[in-house]
Symmetry: C2
Subunit: 261 residues, 2 copies
């Protein structure tokens, strides 16, 4: 993903946050997801905050760049689109989006040159009041366990920031970490399976000749499912060699005992 | 969404967590997303923990039901599928999923009656070690800001739990909260616009007759975009009445002054 320009990223606006620790954790969650612009409206314990710096775990570009405002209106003045986060339904007629839908909308608007967005988060105690919510164009409500919707402030910010981040992310949903080795070709896999089959024939593994193709298909399936790398195929060959060597090195009496059993 | 049965939900397993506060915040994040089964392997500060109860914000069913294990192997013994969360690439050949993809996989397997899944999270200081990771079938790595991937423990749990929750959630991405009033029908909107147009005609609003249809289309678009409810249409009618009444009630001299200007 190419990191969007700063003015294409939503601003996080905390209304009357209480604890510096929480502001620090918000900053950390923001930077985890590439967000950098933090605004604080009437932080209860003042600003700057040493505790916020500590709990930010090094997200100092967010902490040191934070701006403080006296009113929500002032904090929003330069924005063109404002979202308010709340878990509770309000007595207003309003658009309600999930975090994922809001994130897609912010991405789409920003890439269309559509101005600057911000997201309001209420304080730890009681969230946003209706006056602040009425300044927002749209409400964001995360679909949570209806029996337990009380979200920690930094968790609420993370949820939104993470959705914003992945809305522009192109990481494949699934990949195989191969640690620089290549995934084995079918030819390599076949060569190993042919060798294994010879060994199994030699060792009297196949009790029923007609079942042999089925048994081999099942064995193939097991190894194939593991998607071995070329290096792992070498390891499998090595395992065959080692098992034979173990037998060769075994003391005579031991070998005989096994034959009798 | 119907809440899945307990044995269809993934278990959260914290390996050597340090602070009780963080375990409490993990429990809170889990319950926010409907997860209830927590397992702790060698919690540094012992268990039970009063601090964990405090920071769980009431997620006591998770805290009180938490089980403690001496080894990771013991904590995994009854599971059929294990995921390990880590931000760093490891020297292993392994499947790597995003949190969203892992969540979909867990949902799909559980609904197919495919056993019980668990997710390993490492301690605050250094995450999971390679030995613990090797016990997992699959790695989960969240695509984060590559310049700042250090996630708080409860944040990591939330990210996964939230993806699991919404993978089974049917909340519409967008809805209009109408506070019990119905969204207005087109007929209601038309009736209002006809009345408004009459008022505007009467007030000499349309300077150019040929432009009138365009102007009215733009006005319609503005009101239509707002998706007013029936109640709001009533309010709009009331606004017209009120503006006329304001004029009617205005003192004579005031009215004359405006006419002159």
């Amino acid at each position: 993903m190419t990191d969007p320009a700063a003015d294409e990223k939503p601003v996080v606006i905390l209304i009357a946050p209480q604890l510096g620790e929480n502001i620090g954790m918000v900053a950390r969650a923001m930077l985890n997801c590439g967000l950098t612009e933090l605004r604080l409206v009437r932080p209860r314990d003042g600003w700057p905050s040493e505790k916020a710096r500590e709990t930010s775990a090094g997200a100092l570009e967010v902490i040191d760049g934070a701006q403080v405002f006296e009113t929500t209106r002032d904090a929003l003045a330069d924005l063109t689109r404002v979202y308010a986060t709340t878990a509770r339904p309000r007595e207003m007629v309003t658009r309600v989006l999930t975090p994922a839908a809001a994130a897609r909308e912010m991405r789409a608007e920003a890439s269309g040159g559509g101005g600057k967005a911000g997201v309001l988060f209420g304080g730890e105690r009681s969230g946003l009041d209706n006056e602040d919510i009425s300044l927002a164009d749209t409400i964001i409500t995360a679909p949570l366990n209806p029996g337990f919707t009380s979200l920690n402030l930094a968790q609420a910010v993370l949820m939104l920031a993470y959705e914003w981040w992945i809305a522009g992310d192109e990481t494949p949903a699934e990949r195989l970490e191969t640690n620089l080795s290549e995934v084995a070709t079918k030819e390599s896999l076949d060569n190993f399976l042919i060798r294994l089959e010879e060994q199994l024939d030699e060792g009297g593994f196949f009790r029923s000749a007609p079942m042999k193709p089925t048994v081999m298909r099942n064995i193939r399936s097991l190894f194939q499912r593991a998607r071995p790398t070329e290096q792992e195929i070498s390891t499998l060959h090595g395992i065959i060699v080692a098992i034979r060597r173990a037998e060769r090195n075994a003391p005579r009496y031991d070998r005989r005992r096994r034959e009798e059993s």
